[in-house]
């Protein structure tokens, strides 16, 4: 259905053209001397706010020991099934870890599947998996997009620990049972 759009006639200043140009240049000049609002990514990286959910990583405790005990709760809770763990026994030749008994043999997170929901971090009873600051994951092949255990620890680094649960356990073991 055709209908007629009424065209307003131009005012005098509009017909003169120059006032409009001057007004436009004023806006341009104002922004020329204002501070930048854009970042020159990737040369400049944004500051990541606390609580940001980036790439999931495995962290070590302040003594550089593996925290994950491969309880597989993250694998269970992961909505897109991105996590795959092969549980294993901690070998007896690791005196500072052997009393933990269990640790992951392999730990893979498929970043093509991961939806950055953070449920793995929330469910972890050992505070071993954290979604940290890394937000950019790229790769040329599918295999490159799967983070294995070594990569996960490299990304994760070390985070402070408030509990040292297993150290307490070991201390109790060494103190022993006074009745025995």
């Amino acid at each position: 259905m055709a209908y007629v759009v009424e065209r307003k006639s131009l005012s005098l200043s509009e017909r003169l053209y120059l006032p409009q140009i001057v007004a436009g240049m004023k806006v341009t000049l104002k922004h020329l001397f204002k501070p930048n609002v854009t970042l020159e990514y990737p040369d400049v990286r944004p500051a990541i706010p606390p609580g940001y959910r980036g790439v999931p990583t495995l962290v070590k405790d302040p003594n550089g020991r593996e925290k994950c005990v491969s309880c597989q709760l993250c694998e269970f809770v992961c909505p897109p099934k991105a996590i795959r763990i092969t549980p294993g026994e901690v070998p007896a030749n690791q005196p500072d870890r052997a009393h933990v008994e269990k640790g992951p043999q392999a730990f893979d997170i498929d970043m093509l599947r991961c939806i950055y929901c953070g449920l793995c971090q929330e469910v972890c009873p050992e505070e071993a998996i954290f979604l940290q600051n890394t937000f950019s994951m790229t790769g040329y092949t599918r295999a490159e997009m799967v983070n294995d255990k070594a990569k996960l620890y490299e990304l994760g680094g070390t985070l402070p620990d408030q509990h040292f649960k297993w150290d307490k356990k070991k201390a109790a073991e060494e103190r022993g049972n006074p009745h025995h």
């Binding site: 005990v69 309880c71 597989q72 269970f76 269990k102 009873p125 109790a172 049972n177 009745h179």
Partner: protein, 569 residues
Amino acid sequence: MSSAPAKPADLVTVNIDGKEIAVPKGTNVIEAAKLVGVEIPHYCYHPKLSIVGNCRMCLIEMGMPAVDPATKAPVMDAATGKQKINWIPRPQIGCGTNASPGLHVKTSSPMAREAREGVTEFLLINHPLDCPICDQAGECKLQEHSTAYGRGYSRFIEQKNVKPKRTQLGPRVTLDDERCILCSRCIRFSKEIAKDDVLGFIDRGSYSTLTCYPGKQLENNYSLNTVDICPVGALTSTDFRFKMRVWFLKQTPSIDTESSVGVNTEVWSREGVLYRITPRRNDAVNDTWLADSGRMLYKQVKADDRLLAPAIGGNSTGGDMALKAAADLLKAGSVAVVSSGRSSLEEQFLTKKLADALKTQASLVSRVGQGDRLLISSDRNPNVRGALVTGLISALPSQKLAGLAADIDAGKVKTVISVGEDLTAAGLTAAQLAKVSVIYLGTHNNATSAAAKVVIPTLTVFEKSGSFVNQQFRLQKFAKAVPGPAGVNDDLVTLAELVAAAGGGILPFALGQLWTQIAAETKVLAGLSHAALPATGHLLDASAWAGLPFCEGETLHFKPAAVPAAVNA
């Protein structure tokens, strides 16, 4: 599964949480409550073991109808017009309380709840926070009841007890003593069922520790049942330890193939990989037990010597080529059929059709070992009776194929088709095998597969569905737990194609259709179907084979009809 309906005199009416129910005399309150759909939490009670009542978790409130002590007349409650109930002022244990006429029980009254909460708090005092690394997590009774009766935080500020964490009780069982809640199920099992009384508690109070008798080990062939019945993660299977969390595993009902007892099992798998085998309760066959040897059978699936590809003359080939080569050999005539007591009833039915088409009588090889009077019988074939039922054989098999050996020597046989039997182990010499063309259908490499002209790989019991007939003539079914190796056909498909090649007509190979035919052609199986078989099996009419001298001796829930024949028969 009580066969005869109990006489009214044997039933007593009890009232559980306001519901009246008639239960057999001698039923305890836990079992009676189960019948009305109420679960009373318990740790030490086990339906197949003696009652000790030491965990105190099943505390309930109970009362009896009031009677006047002098006149024995019922005391009526004026408010309700019913007989008054005298409630006992303290909680009682449900496992040690047997149903008596008029017994009233409150399973979740404030007193019972409070009592259980107290028990739970005491149990958790010294229990380690091991759930993330504990194999029992997910099927742990303490975990389950702690969510229902625990307070969620601990008031215990003292040091927890320290006990040995990694004791090897035996070759297959690892003990974590800190997790033990001292229910003594494992001790009672060893003493009462396995008759190998090696376990016991030492020390007192919270220092009590489960240990083996000095110089002994928990090494009997039923040791892993203690792991099954352990309500917490104290006893763990060394084989399954740290392999996989149980909530990932899928359960498939199966049958133990190591002997003719036909123990009902549960096979646990994840994504096509088997992780463990546990017993499945069947009160008519195995109660809740399974031998350790039967639990290791899953390893055959991923064994190195598994046959994975069809072969002609030792060279791998395609499935169609191998079938064609086998068909050519069958068409040439003079074929002997060796069937197996390890095949399922359906396979034996098709093997019978194959033997009929080739106008020969199939032979079977018997396997006899020492029975342990519990769950391993002396007949180590799971399905010899299936062969009798399907008519594959009419007399009991012997251990050596003497008749076939004589026929080969006499030149009467040109081709031997073996459905899963190692002919060398059955008494044929390498020279005899060299004289004939062997078609071997089997799961693993052996001397026969090495000597065979045509090898067609088949599936293990975990990779197919079917049924076995056990020593009681109980027809029991098993289901496919994991897919077979790529390129390996279902055994029924292979056999149906061989029957067709031998001129026996087109037979169905899908279980449903095949069973229509089996039920139509076999008298004792009339009206049955694989799909409708109950989980506990179906007892067949065995009168036709009553006179046969079966070799089995007495085992759990089985008494041989006649005197067992000599073991070397």
